[in-house]
C-alpha cells in the first residue's frame, strides 16, 4: 500500500470511528448532567480540550485528569472527583479501540508499534473529548431553556 493510500485509509477509519463514538461520548455527558455547569464548568472542559489537543503522549492527558481528580478530592468535592475518575476510565478504555483499529491499519513509516498505539490512543481521546465538550455545552443550554 502506498503511503498516500495508507494515510487516506487511516483518515477514513478514524473519521468513521469518531462518528460512531459520538453517541458514546454524549452518553457520558448525559450520565453526568447533574454536575453541569456548576460543579464541572465549561472552563474546566475547555481546559481539558486544550490539554488533549496539545498532548504529545496519552500519559499527558491521564496526568491532567488525575490531577483534576486529586484537586477535587482535596476540596472535598467527591462528585467532581468521580467525574474525572469516570472520564479517566472512559478515555483509558479507548486504548482497546486504538488496538483494534491498528489491526486494520499498517503503522506509519518510521514508527514502532508502541508509538503508533500511543499516537492513535491520543487521537481517539481527542475526538472523544471534542464530542464530550460539544454535548456538555449543548446539554447545559437545554437545561437553561427548560
Amino acid at each position: 500500500m502506498s503511503e498516500l493510500a495508507h494515510l487516506l485509509k487511516r483518515k477514513q477509519s478514524i473519521a468513521a470511528w469518531s462518528d460512531r463514538w459520538q453517541a458514546e461520548a454524549a452518553r457520558f455527558a448525559d450520565s453526568h448532567r447533574d454536575l453541569l455547569p456548576r460543579r464541572i464548568t465549561s472552563a474546566q472542559l475547555y481546559g481539558l480540550g486544550n490539554v488533549v489537543r496539545s498532548a504529545r503522549r496519552y500519559a499527558d492527558i491521564e496526568r491532567f485528569i488525575r490531577h483534576q481528580a486529586e484537586k477535587a478530592e482535596r476540596a472535598g468535592r467527591l462528585d467532581v472527583q468521580g467525574y474525572w475518575n469516570d472520564l479517566k476510565d472512559a478515555l483509558g478504555k479507548l486504548r482497546g479501540e486504538a488496538q483494534a483499529l491498528l489491526k486494520t491499519l499498517p503503522f506509519p513509516a518510521g514508527m514502532d508499534s508502541r508509538e503508533a498505539l500511543d499516537a492513535l490512543h491520543r487521537e481517539l481521546a481527542e475526538l472523544y473529548v471534542q464530542h464530550l465538550i460539544a454535548h456538555s455545552s449543548y446539554q447545559t443550554a437545554g437545561a437553561k431553556e427548560n
Binding site: K11, Q12, A15, A16, S18, D19, Q22, S42, L127, Q130, H131, I133, A134, H135, S136, S137, Y138, Q139, T140, A141, G142, K144, E145
Partner: protein, 146 residues
C-alpha cells in the same frame, strides 16, 4: 476498462444521481430554515462557516459538534439557540442518515465490502442540505440589507 471497473463507475453514477435527487428535495426545508435564521442575529459569515466546515470535514460528527457548541454558547438565545432553530437543524441533519441508508439499500451494494458507504453518503447529504441553506440565507440577507 475491466468489467469490475465498469460496474464501479456505473454504481458511482447511480449514487451521484440519487444524491442529486435528494438534494433537490431538501431545497424547500433548507429555505424554511433560512427564513427562520434571517430573523436571528446571525450574519453571513456564521452560516457560511457551517457550510465551509461541512464541505471540508470528513466527519458528520464535526458538523453536529459545531452546531451543539454554537447552541450551547448562545446564552442570549439570539442566534443558533433562538426558538430551537439549532436544535431542530441538528435533528434534521442527523435524520438525513435515514435517507443515506435508503440510498445505499437501493444501490444493492454489499455493505460488508464498503461498510463506510452509508456514513459517507450521510456526510454528502449534510453538505447538500447546508449548501442550500447557506445560499438561501445569503440571498435573504442581501434582500434584507437593501
Amino acid at each position: 476498462m475491466g468489467n469490475q471497473a465498469v460496474q464501479q463507475v456505473a454504481l458511482r453514477v447511480v449514487l451521484e444521481r440519487a444524491i442529486a435527487r435528494k438534494s433537490d428535495e431538501y431545497d424547500r426545508l433548507a429555505r424554511q430554515y433560512a427564513n427562520q435564521l434571517i430573523a436571528t442575529k446571525l450574519d453571513k459569515t456564521q452560516v457560511r462557516g457551517l457550510e465551509t466546515l461541512a464541505s471540508t470535514t470528513d466527519k458528520v460528527s464535526d458538523i453536529t459538534d459545531w452546531l451543539k457548541l454554537r447552541v450551547g454558547r448562545d446564552s442570549g438565545r439570539e442566534r443558533w439557540a433562538k426558538e430551537g432553530i439549532g436544535r431542530n437543524l441538528l435533528t434534521d441533519l442527523e435524520g438525513l442518515r435515514r435517507d443515506a441508508r435508503d440510498i445505499v439499500d437501493k444501490l444493492g451494494v454489499d455493505k460488508d465490502k464498503d461498510p463506510d458507504l452509508e456514513r459517507q453518503v450521510h456526510l454528502r447529504l449534510c453538505r447538500e442540505f447546508l449548501k442550500h441553506l447557506a445560499a438561501h440565507f445569503e440571498y435573504l440577507k442581501v434582500e434584507q440589507e437593501r
